[in-house]
């Protein structure tokens, strides 16, 4: 039997590959402690992001077909970026339902892996917690994040057309993880509000307005921090908080960082994570007693 609880194919996506060390470093620690092994997808390409489907519907299907043809059989595919995840599921939907499209791309790239599940990073954490319960595995040195009020921000990555997700956007998925690791998810108005994504790069004033709305919403419900799984949302909100010169700033963290703190890492040991943040999150940890 394998020494790992789970082995998975990992598709980092362009954002997580070039930058976002503050999320990649804690993720490595979390995976080691949760006994999960990631194998990076071999020679993967961009999923098309928000620009591919904006100009031609074939682009995300084709790029997704090439990626899925690279995925080995028998391992779930884990995708940390919600936008990549949506493009992958869209691509898979078309390849599953349109035999002529599948035939066209199978002729180009060989067999396309349509059987292994595509998981989001929070699906993976749920899965691992469930596996751990079933096999009664315990994680050592766990330190619950007591007294930490967390506003969970999904961003638009949680929104899907109804054919792909008939039940609608998730409302308690990350919240359940936060409860499991000891924090308190606060109810707040904008968990699914888009941070304006790529429009931020062209019209910063729109992004500043939306970021002000979102961060003020979190601040007024008394959240200590915002947590998100999307690296792009994290960067965008943090940038716009600074460039809009907001007074009441709320630090924006990655889910991976909170998971690492729960699994026993000390915040004071990891100056190398916090130095990447434009809004300093260290006062929050000092207040919540997670600093050392």
């Amino acid at each position: 039997m394998s020494e790992y609880l789970l082995e998975a194919t990992y598709f980092p996506g362009c954002t997580m590959k070039t930058g976002v060390e503050e999320s990649n470093l804690p993720m490595q620690i979390v995976l080691d402690k949760l006994k999960v092994k990631f194998y990076e997808l071999e020679d993967w390409n961009c999923c098309g992001s928000s620009s591919g489907h904006a100009v031609d519907h074939e682009i995300p299907i084709g790029l997704g077909a090439r990626n899925q043809s690279k995925a080995p059989k028998g391992r779930p595919i884990v995708i940390p970026c919600p936008n990549c995840y949506r493009n992958w599921t869209t691509s898979r939907y078309h390849l599953e339902h349109e035999p002529e499209t599948r035939e066209k791309y199978e002729n180009k790239f060989g067999r396309i892996n349509l059987t292994d599940p595509i998981l989001n990073i929070y699906d993976l954490y749920h899965h691992v917690f469930n596996l751990a319960r079933l096999k009664s595995v315990t994680f050592e040195g766990v330190r619950p994040l007591k007294d930490l009020k967390v506003a969970v921000y999904y961003g638009c990555g949680a929104m899907y057309p109804k054919v792909l997700r008939p039940v609608g956007p998730p409302r308690d998925t990350v919240e359940r993880i936060i409860t499991e690791i000891g924090g308190t998810p606060v109810p707040w108005p904008y968990p699914h509000k888009c941070c304006s994504a790529f429009v931020s790069a062209v019209y910063p004033e729109i992004a500043e307005e939306l970021a002000t709305l979102i961060v003020t919403g979190a601040y007024e419900t008394g959240a200590d921090l915002l947590v998100t799984t999307c690296a792009m949302c994290q960067m965008n909100l943090e940038m716009r908080e600074v460039s809009a010169r907001m007074n009441n700033r709320v630090p924006i963290l990655h889910l991976n960082q909170l998971m690492a703190l729960y699994l026993g890492e000390k915040a004071s040991d990891h100056e190398d994570w916090w130095k990447y943040h434009l809004v300093d999150p260290t006062p929050v940890f000092k207040k919540a007693g997670l600093w050392d």
Binding site: T18, S49, H57, Y160, C194, I206, S243
Partner: protein, 201 residues
């Protein structure tokens, strides 16, 4: 960016003489949804983060499509200012894939060579796909550089936009300066996928 006055609030009568009545049906075939089931409940516009900056809003585009007013729909700023966040599609009570319709309309606008409602946003998509064509993956720094190059005609405000914050983020190494690349065989496969899909301007 100014907030836009909505065009449907004008008192002018709608001219139907140029109307293309098969338009909604064709959109429905490509986007996989039936536009005639739209109730005009405006849930989509209510949830849309970009609604204040659009000239029609998503529900207005649905109306234009059903009425067959193709030219108005394809030249609107709405289709380009859509951020593709799918908030409209997720809230629609009739399960219309509104963001998918927007995708189709943008594609159609490029194919028919009609004027683009919001040029800088189109140039962003172009810069993105150029970056993907170079490396097979996207590089954020290169993307911003290309976009600045494409919009060089729009004046000093666009050149200096986010220059200080962007440089700071590169120096912090929050953004890597160098892109990650595919193997050369992979890049040629990605270029083959991109070739012959969208119509460049």
């Amino acid at each position: 960016m100014e907030k836009e006055e909505k065009k449907f609030s004008s008192s002018e009568p709608i001219s139907m003489s140029q109307s293309d009545l098969g338009f909604a049906k064709r959109i429905g075939e490509v986007a996989g949804t039936d536009l005639n089931s739209c109730l005009t409940c405006m849930s989509c516009s209510g949830g849309c983060p970009m609604y204040p900056y659009m000239d029609y809003g998503p529900h207005g585009i649905m109306r234009l499509a059903v009425l067959g007013l193709k030219k108005e729909a394809l030249t609107s700023t709405t289709i380009w200012r859509c951020a593709g966040c799918h908030a409209c599609a997720a809230v629609c009570p009739m399960a219309i894939n509104i963001a998918g319709v927007m995708d189709y309309l943008r594609e159609e606008c490029l194919h028919e060579n009609l004027p683009i409602g919001d040029k800088p946003l189109f140039l962003f998509h172009k810069a993105f796909l150029t970056s993907v064509r170079f490396h097979g993956r996207c590089s954020k720094v290169e993307l911003m550089g290309l976009h600045k190059l494409y919009t060089i005609g729009s004046g000093p405000k666009a050149w200096m936009q986010d220059a200080i914050l962007g440089t700071k983020m590169i120096l912090m190494r929050k953004l890597h300066l160098l892109p990650s690349r595919l193997m050369s065989s992979g890049i040629s496969q990605v270029r083959k996928i991109l070739n012959g899909t969208w119509r460049d301007r």
